[in-house]
Symmetry: D2
Subunit: 116 residues, 4 copies
């Protein structure tokens, strides 16, 4: 960027993890899960995929904007990502989502403690 970045290396990594998780959950839910059906569109699982995508998007946006509340939101985001990873694991055949959610959860947990 053309100026000194206000975000640390760790925050940039968390923004990246949130964005990847947001994109993968949204794309997988609205293309793969809807087409496959069965347990993939079980209401609690599908809602979790959509909620995870939205929380990750908001978490990235708050960090990008230099918000003083990024840590608090990251703490919630980490919980949703963990729940989504567990739900995807139980259904099976969703390894990419499981990995993106776990990775994002870990990164958000670190940010949630670091910025407090």
């Amino acid at each position: 960027m053309q100026h000194d970045s206000p975000t640390s290396h760790d925050m940039q990594a968390c923004i990246h993890a949130c964005t990847k998780c947001h994109h993968l959950c949204l794309q997988t839910a609205l293309t793969h899960c809807l087409e496959v059906g069965g347990s993939h569109i079980e209401p609690a699982h599908f809602r979790l995929m959509m909620n995870c995508a939205e929380l990750c998007q908001t978490s990235a946006n708050l960090q990008l904007s230099g918000s003083a509340f990024s840590a608090q939101l990251c703490a919630v985001c980490a919980q949703v990502c963990e729940a989504c990873a567990a739900s995807c694991e139980q259904i099976g055949g969703m390894e990419a989502c499981v990995q993106a959610c776990r990775s994002c959860a870990e990164s958000c947990r670190a940010m949630s403690g670091a910025v407090h």
Copy 2:
């Protein structure tokens, strides 16, 4: 709606309060504050207005989608709304924002305890 609503009366009230706060903060920041300038575009204040708008939007969306994590997000949203209300109060001449933020904070605090 054409079906029994999954959201209680309290949740509908919270969704309404979040939407009002989101709209008022976004509109005031990007039209009023930018035009008036001075303390209205002090970075910490302006960011808080934008973050408050985004959090309120996400909080409404999670409640509308029947998310199991609405309570946790409402708890964070209540904190951001309180901070935004205090910032608007200090600047002065932003009574509508102060009131919308306070009202949303109160409603989110109630939801955060109720749904836990």
Copy 3:
């Protein structure tokens, strides 16, 4: 509000219609449609519900922010709302969504011509 509103009466009505349509499509898709299943989770229909919710949200946000591109976005939003109304009508039992989408489409079409 504490200042002269930059938005006309018609724009406020369009913001309201977009918000109502966004909320109803999101809530109906992620609570009603997912639970009922069958034709309600047919991929093309369900995606349309989610896309309609997102476009309406963005359309409201651009109008609230006084964007010079509100008219162009309203034109796209009107098309998505019309398609969503038609899809809901074909499935049946979704009168509230049909009405909210039609009303939003009409309001967005008016804005799209008016602001150009």
Copy 4:
């Protein structure tokens, strides 16, 4: 991903360009521009930065969800990105934003014609 991607190589490139432009405009506006002040917070410029960020986010989300209306939204997004690039160029010292906006505009224009 664990399934054949429904998005072409070109669409993935456009999603990437939209995400980069969204992130850079949001981060630059709410951290750099607000801190620097002067012409950087001129209302029309600042609003354009925020609108560009929001449109790019929505454009990426629609493409990720396999929306039938991605092309129409990409056409609007291309216009907003071009306007934002021109505004950033005029202010000066915002080369990274100019480049991200131009690159996103080009990618969105291609998608808007390709998917029609």
